[in-house]
């Protein structure tokens, strides 16, 4: 699995006190790991800092609320890791 996923999984494990071996690429942060929106702010802060990005959480939330995206696209960890890779690549470009 990608280095990005490993970093994200470690952040989630440390931030939310979830055993690292329970965090899989297929895990949904909300539905499977039970992370609530406040804990997700901590995770977002750690991810933003670690990768030097600004995850567009407001845009993602709006897309989900308007039915243009599913939470799976952003909160299943392998998908989240891909989004992070895209943001890092866009920053370098």
């Amino acid at each position: 699995m990608s280095a990005t996923f490993e970093t994200v999984a470690n952040i989630i494990s440390e931030t939310c006190d979830i055993p690292r071996d329970k965090i899989k690429p297929e895990s949904h942060a909300i539905n499977d790991l039970g992370i609530d929106s406040l804990d997700f702010l901590d995770i977002a802060f750690a991810i933003d800092k670690t990768f030097g990005i600004k995850m567009p959480l407001e845009q993602w939330t709006q897309e989900v609320n308007e039915g243009r995206a599913t939470t799976d696209q952003y909160f299943v960890l392998k998908n989240l890791s891909t989004r992070i890779d895209e943001l890092v690549a866009a920053k370098k470009a």
Binding site: L41, A44, F45, D48, K54, E58, Q59
Partner: protein, 166 residues
């Protein structure tokens, strides 16, 4: 301060948008009913109110940086340390720095220091407390809410030209 009105800061001394810092003056009142209970015969400024002073200073920093486009609501505090007692009449300076502006949230680091001219020589320039604070940033709940915030901003020397840009 007007503690009973939950006004924990008095005046913005400096708001530096480039450095993402704010410095605020906060004078603890000589008398307040709060001191009658906290504690009888031994008045101390409650730590939760010092935390709120750090929240309010941080909040105005965020409102300045975001140019009055959103309202920061207190969401989390980490590593809050209350290092020294604060007594009635003390002059405090609250400093805050924006650590990170995320999407829909912001994180600051804030501290309170006893001002150098404080009458208590032992507390000169002394670090009173500090914390890392997280805020949710949401649209102002109503135009009326924002109007009230603008009115309050004018009373604490907030640079109102920033509000006009929002």
């Amino acid at each position: 301060m007007q503690i009973e009105y939950f006004r924990l800061i008095d005046r913005i001394i400096a708001l530096d948008l480039a450095a993402r810092t704010i410095q605020v003056e906060a004078i603890v009142p000589a008398e307040s009913t709060i001191f009658e209970g906290h504690f009888p015969g031994h008045p101390l400024m409650p730590g939760v109110l010092l935390q709120e002073a750090m929240n309010q200073a941080s909040g105005w920093l965020i409102i300045g940086i975001t140019k009055f486009t959103c309202m920061p609501f207190f969401a989390a505090v980490k590593e809050a340390k209350f290092r020294s007692f604060v007594t009635p009449g003390m002059a405090l300076t609250v400093n805050a720095t924006l650590e990170h502006e995320g999407s829909g949230y912001a994180v600051t680091r804030a501290e309170i220091r006893a001002r150098a001219q404080d009458r208590n020589q032992d507390n000169q320039d002394k670090l009173i407390c500090n914390a890392e604070i997280t805020f949710r940033l949401v649209p102002f709940p109503s135009p009326h809410f924002r109007e009230n915030m603008e009115k309050f901003a004018a009373t604490i020397s907030f640079p109102m030209e920033l509000a006009a840009n929002g």
